[in-house]
């Protein structure tokens, strides 16, 4: 893995177009999926996908090959998603990312439930799962996606979400419990 990350770091410093093409193709599903988990919006996820790769190109010289490339890539994506959310809903950024003090989860604002994308999406099962994820607290949903879809380890997740390890674990346990209850209710 270290050889591969070094190779990527070298290519990014050179702005190697072939490397970037390969990376874009490699993450064409995982990155939009993560961005969707943050924004809940397909169009926003696709816009952010493009912006993320432009930022990767411009800041490629900052990539540290000691870390897996995914962790750096997803942290860039996350920052861009937060900037977008902040521009669209400045008064509820904190509410979007953290549950309120009473501990009740806020509903993820879904402005796209009637989008053509959702209508064309594969199967009721896929929509059921997306609906389940929408009901999770955003901070818990994010770490669940990173841990169990992207297979990141806890240290990498802590880097991406910029939170202490203990906070990441806490969100994971809370998210897993919430997801377990949601799945049980809908099964």
């Amino acid at each position: 893995m270290e050889d591969e990350t070094r190779e990527i770091a070298r290519g990014l410093r050179r702005h190697d177009p072939d490397l970037l093409d390969e990376l874009i193709a490699r993450y064409q599903y995982r990155l939009p999926r993560y961005l969707w988990s943050l924004t809940g919006n397909r169009e926003a996820a696709e816009d952010l996908f493009q912006e993320t790769w432009i930022r990767v190109l411009e800041k490629g010289h900052l990539y540290d090959p000691r870390w897996r490339f995914e962790a750096w890539l997803f942290s860039i994506a996350r920052n861009l998603a937060i900037d977008l959310l902040r521009r669209r809903q400045p008064e509820s950024l904190e509410a979007l990312l953290h549950p309120d003090d009473e501990g009740t989860a806020r509903e993820w604002p879904d402005h796209q439930s009637a989008s053509p994308f959702d209508a064309a999406a594969a199967g009721e099962e896929a929509e059921r799962i997306r609906e389940l994820l929408r009901r999770l607290p955003p901070d818990a949903r994010e770490v669940l996606v990173l841990r169990f879809q992207e297979d990141m380890n806890l240290d990498e997740i802590a880097v991406v979400v910029r939170a202490p390890l203990s906070t990441v674990k806490s969100r994971l346990y809370r998210g897993l419990e919430a997801l377990r209850h949601l799945v049980a209710r809908t099964s």
Binding site: E58, E125, R180
Partner: protein, 157 residues
């Protein structure tokens, strides 16, 4: 059943997914699950929940990859051209500094001669020399700053 044992089992059922558990803990948990139906149900619920999560797919526009690649290539080309321009600019700056350093004694002598010829005060000659010496670097520095602010403004726009 002892509630602390049950609590420990519940924690380990979650922990083995979240952060992993030691082999000894895994063995203990397997032995406990063989006897406790409630914990078995919790373990199954976890598996089902995670299986659902892993099945989450997101359809993307098929043109997204090609559009992104094209945009990134274009931007990479712009960055390379910009780097080449900046390299030329820095080389010009270096050459200018070198020539300035070489010609400084000649310039100083010229200023001294002018001062003697026009009977100017030494302070005027020194000031004239300093202005003439720093003028090119000041102009180039200003140009670079202007270019950068223009590039930043275009990017934001």
């Amino acid at each position: 059943m002892n509630s602390s044992i049950h609590e420990r089992a519940c924690h380990l059922i979650d922990a083995r997914h979240v952060e992993g558990i030691a082999a000894s803990e895994r063995e203990w948990l397997e032995a406990h699950l063989a006897e406790c139906e409630a914990c078995q149900a919790r373990a199954r619920a976890n598996e089902l929940a995670l299986q659902s999560l892993r099945q989450n797919t997101v359809r993307v526009d098929p043109a997204l990859v090609s559009t992104t690649q094209a945009r990134v290539r274009l931007r990479a080309q712009e960055l390379r051209e910009n780097q080449a321009r900046m390299r030329t600019l820095w080389m010009a700056c270096g050459l200018s500094w070198l020539l300035g350093a070489i010609t400084a004694p000649l310039l100083w002598q010229a200023m001294s001669w002018l001062g003697r010829h026009f009977q100017l005060a030494p302070a005027v000659c020194i000031t004239g020399f300093a202005i003439f010496w720093f003028a090119p670097a000041t102009v180039v520095g200003g140009l670079i700053a202007w270019r950068r602010s223009r590039a930043a403004a275009l990017q934001n726009w």
